[in-house]
């Protein structure tokens, strides 16, 4: 049984191989955060391979590069007035949301494909899936929480769309600059590259990269996470030393 499934799968992958394929490469698979980190970028290069049988695409090619950062459980809270003061009264949790999302493309997300396809492939901030495990007392209000989540993350620069983020150097060679924002989450990032034409996906490639702290930053972060008590004691010693040093330096009597 599983062999039949395998054969079908192979056939399914082989048949569209007559169409375009892509070769892509990232400028780096590991971006290291050092003490002078203020944001950076990773460059994606790709070329579209055609063979003799490939039909011509009258509408030309479209590219969509979807970058998703590490996933997190996120919560969106709503304030309402309660005895004259503004209090968080309602909230929704959203599971497995990417802490960073970017769509780089050569045209606006809405012009790439219809909403069903974009939702299925998570192309565009507005088509991101946000699953909430508990609907709360008022399920009809949940879309407002989802919109707020997307809006706030856009405002923080963590969710972004760049409709001119993919540049075609030649009709078959493209480049995309993946932004790494200053307040970037740390962890592993997935990159999905879609070659599209006329609202249809012709080819798809996936790759990934990692954003990690390095050197002193990594040492501090690991110490804080793995040896909390020792780290706290070290921080306390540092405070004592600084205070003592100041009183020695500035001693007047």
């Amino acid at each position: 049984m599983s062999r039949i499934v395998l054969v079908i799968l192979v056939l399914l992958t082989v048949v569209p191989a007559r169409a375009e394929t892509m070769i892509t490469s990232l400028s780096t698979h590991r971006l290291q955060i050092t003490s002078n980190f203020v944001g950076s970028e990773i460059v994606l290069f790709g070329s579209i391979e055609r063979d003799a049988q490939t039909i011509s695409r009258p509408g030309g090619y479209d590219m969509a590069v979807v970058v998703r950062g590490p996933r997190a459980l996120m919560v969106t809270r709503q304030k309402t007035r309660f005895f004259g003061i503004w209090v968080n009264t309602d909230s929704r949790q959203f599971v497995e949301m990417p802490a960073f999302y970017a769509l780089l493309s050569n045209k606006a997300a809405a012009d790439l494909a219809d909403i069903e396809l974009r939702a299925r492939q998570q192309i565009g901030v507005d088509s991101l899936t946000a699953i909430t495990p508990r609907l709360g007392p008022d399920p009809a209000a949940t879309p407002a929480f989802r919109d707020a989540l997307l809006r706030i993350n856009r405002a923080k620069g963590l969710y972004r769309e760049n409709p001119t983020g993919v540049t075609f150097l030649t009709p078959n060679l493209f480049r995309a600059n993946i932004p790494i924002v200053p307040n970037t989450p740390v962890g592993s990032f997935d990159v999905d590259i879609f070659l599209m034409s006329g609202g249809v996906i012709l080819a798809r490639e996936s790759t990934n990269f990692e954003v990690t702290k390095t050197g002193f930053e990594a040492f501090v972060a690991n110490a804080a996470r793995d040896h909390g008590v020792l780290y706290g004691l070290a921080a306390a010693m540092l405070a004592l030393f600084t205070g003592w040093a100041a009183s020695v330096v500035f001693r007047r009597d």
């Binding site: 919560v75 503004w86 804080a224 780290y231 921080a235 600084t242 009597d253």
Partner: protein, 310 residues
């Protein structure tokens, strides 16, 4: 000059943080308070996550209160016995405060609790200070001699059990209110990211009637130990102490405090208290306005927990 903070996970302008430490240090040296009640809100305002701001400021307060404590210690103006009893309470208070901090953060009510505490405590204390120092200034203007406090030992709450004598503070008092004050200050301090000096000093003066000669020194030592405990507890439970941020704040803070202390020598005590009262009141009002005015965006959003963290 941008510097990446390894725990807060964002770059900050190093000079801005140093400058903030310097300014708050100046105020803290001038008035003999930790300055946490100003520094924590400022850090939150420039985008540092509240948990990291609160925990890192604790380190800064510890550093600045050590330099204060040392100079008072040399003048014999510290009552270690009183601090010892206060600490029994504040050890539990700090541990409880750090635990409550995590719980409130999870429930999304941390900001509200911090804001409400700031509004009530700062407005109350600020008001008291303004009224009291206003009266003192009026009294000195009218040329009336200040009331001299009797120099003998004062007895407070001696009807309760565990009566103790504190010769340095010149008081005889039951240990229960002392431990209670320590408990409250430790709890509030670790949640609000404040040393609690501006709460402890009035409590020691008005509730325990501690001799004014040792009040500030005793409060500094108590603040020092409480904040050291807060740093360790925050680091152990929330991993939220950013040493890079704390070090920047400490350096700015201890330097600023020296200049503040020099400035304060040229000012009268009641004028200083009036100024501090106005500053405290202003911060309290700022929090009140935030609570009552319709927010720009009623929604807020945060990461609750990471799915896989490498």
């Amino acid at each position: 000059m941008q510097l990446y903070l390894p725990i807060a996970e964002l770059p900050v302008n190093m000079l801005l943080i140093l400058g903030m430490g310097l300014a708050i240090g100046f105020i803290s040296g001038m008035f003999g308070v930790g300055g946490g009640f100003l520094l924590t809100p400022l850090l939150i305002f420039i985008g540092i996550p509240p948990a990291i701001a609160v925990a890192s400021v604790s380190g800064q307060i510890a550093a600045s209160s050590l330099s204060g404590t040392l100079s008072y210690w040399r003048k014999n103006a510290v009552d270690p016995k009183l601090v010892g009893v206060l600490l029994i309470g504040s050890a539990f208070g700090t541990a409880g405060g750090v635990a409550a901090f995590s719980l409130l953060r999870r429930e999304g009510q941390l900001d509200l609790f911090i804001a409400l505490s700031y509004v009530t405590l700062l407005s109350g204390i600020g008001m008291l200070m303004v009224v009291e120092s206003g009266r003192a200034i009026a009294r000195s203007r009218s040329g009336e001699p200040p009331k001299l406090l009797p120099a003998r030992d004062r007895r407070v709450g001696t009807g309760l059990p565990f009566v103790m004598h504190f010769p340095r503070s010149r008081i005889t008092v039951s240990a229960i209110p002392v431990v209670g004050i320590g408990l409250g200050i430790g709890f509030l301090g670790s949640i609000m990211g404040i040393g609690g000096g501006f709460l402890l000093v009035p409590a020691l003066v008005y509730l325990l009637r501690v001799s004014t000669a040792v009040v500030i020194g005793t409060s500094s030592l108590q603040t020092l130990v409480t904040m050291l405990m807060a740093v360790v507890f925050h680091a152990a439970t929330n991993a939220s102490v950013d040493v890079v941020l704390a070090l920047l704040l400490m350096i700015g803070g201890v330097v600023g405090a020296q200049f503040g202390a020099r400035t304060s020598l040229s000012m009268k005590g009641e004028e200083l208290r009036l100024l501090l009262g106005l500053v405290v009141l202003a911060v309290g009002m700022r929090f009140l306005i935030d609570l009552v005015v319709r927010p720009d965006d009623p929604f807020s959003s945060t990461v609750l927990e990471w799915v896989v963290r490498v």
